[in-house]
Symmetry: C2
Subunit: 304 residues, 2 copies
């Protein structure tokens, strides 16, 4: 399973990079980093910065091996869950995709597909899949939200009709910013510690999701990338990027885990937006598009 | 003591606002917020945004009353300390000053002076003072660092010659960003849970510190504010502001406490920089001014 998930992650990395390079014209820069004195940790970062359409994109493949500390367990599993005591060795692999377009009317997107094993014996003491995809617009176009969610519902339904409702809800829960009382974006799907059936079946589900992501996201980029925008819209986008950074730095369990795993900081924090603003007391005026988005972030909707 | 510290905090707020308004020309906007259904919590925010010299300044006075939750105790005291079980009511007052100048060669500055009481009886079950001041340059001028530290050493020495060495060290420890292996800035002084002598003596010390802050900071602003700067310097400043946001959102105990105290988010997060950038792999080239700063942030120096 380790080899299969590594292959799927690398393929996904290739396909996402190629698709976005085609839209943008700019090329990703590749950086490979291996942890010194460790036979098993590698990061392959592919980064596109300062493109015409994409202001910052990171599509990172990683294999991480190490020992779980208590802080990492909390970060990985959430405070409410516990791991049986035992062999603290772990293995993780996956691909992480973060796309921050330049235009305020093109939403940011994030997707991540990962596989985790505990223990160092020939058979893992525990294993699971995690992943998901979600959309973070600065301006909300209902047809984009419906399209993104519909494609992910279809991907889920092809495997288990209970998946989409569960994973949509988990996504709204995961991307919550407690001190703001709002979500980072308009959601998508999020699943974690998925191990309730044959691993090959779950790998097939993850593959369907990874295929769905580009079909869900690219049409939105194509539809919006050339729409003229105002300076006020750009400023609102900068402020929404501030909230994005707030989520990633205060609430994201994946980032907290990465930072505590002696991981490569540059790779882990590449999800941060290229730029951000913080202004005082910037509640949008009632009846504006900005207020409509803020309302949906406080009260998630059913889109599919 | 509550009334005395409230008065000192309000005076300090007035003096800092007036001094920076005089340099900038722009005026602070005042916002008063009281927690509904609570006789004892008030925030008085004074904010200057988009000035010619000051891009964003917040000078906030607050009185906060409430009950300490476990999360707030951890945030207030650090994980290693414990409070005796007992009456969870608390009272806190103080002034918080954050100044983000526009120019990359004028350092950001932060100062905070606060007084804390536990318990709801006529005599507090516990009380302490906290506070400090620190400087966050994007470009390091040794004479500025020496001047800022010297003024704070003199303020400390006037009360206890053990203070500056202790509080300078605590400042370097407090403003550490673990995942970056560096400090937010070049330090200053930081003290907390100070209650080892008569409260009037400690109030006098806090007053000396608050007086020293403007004398320590204003000459630096005057000296640097009209120096021409390049676009590259502005970009480096934006990236340093990204680190500032990383510290505040991942490591600052005061902000964590505020967010967990059901406080006013806008007031608490006003310390965030007006803007920030995150770029991939931006280590400065060896031998540059940017690299010299980065080195000092990793290896704090004695400045006074």
């Amino acid at each position: 399973m380790q080899r299969e998930m590594e292959a799927l992650s690398r393929e996904t990395q290739d396909r996402v990079c190629e698709a976005l390079e085609r839209i943008d014209g700019a090329r990703c820069q590749k950086t490979v980093w291996e942890r010194p004195d460790d036979g098993g940790t590698i990061y392959v970062d592919r980064i596109l910065e300062d493109g015409d359409v994409i202001e910052k994109m990171s599509v990172n493949f990683a294999i991480v091996r190490g020992e779980l500390s208590e802080a990492m367990k909390r970060a990985a599993l959430g405070a409410e869950r516990r791991l049986a005591a035992g062999d603290p060795r772990f293995y993780a692999t996956g691909v992480s995709i973060v796309i921050h377009p330049r235009s305020p009317v093109v939403p940011s997107a994030h997707a991540n597909y990962r596989y985790f094993e505990l223990g160092s014996g020939p058979e893992p003491a525990a294993w699971w899949f995690g992943g998901g995809a979600d959309l973070t617009p600065s301006y909300l176009f209902d047809e984009d939200a419906r399209h993104f969610h519909r494609l992910h519902r279809e991907a889920c339904d092809a495997h288990d009709r209970s998946f989409y409702p569960r994973f949509k809800k988990q996504c709204d829960e995961y991307f919550y910013i407690p001190h703001r009382g709002e979500r980072r974006g308009i959601g998508g799907i999020f699943f974690d510690q998925l191990n309730d059936r044959d691993p090959e079946e779950l790998l097939a589900f993850v593959r369907t999701c990874a295929d769905a992501f580009l079909l869900a996201y690219l049409p939105i980029v194509q539809r919006r990338k050339d729409v003229p925008v105002s300076e006020d819209q750009r400023r609102w986008q900068q402020r929404r990027r501030g909230r994005y950074a707030e989520f990633n730095l205060t609430a994201d369990r994946g980032i907290a885990f990465g930072l505590k795993s002696n991981g490569r900081v540059e790779s882990i924090l590449m999800a941060l937006p290229p730029s951000a603003r913080w202004e005082y007391d910037g509640e949008p005026a009632v009846g504006t598009e900005e207020a409509r988005l803020a309302d949906v972030l406080r009260h998630p909707r059913d889109w599919a």
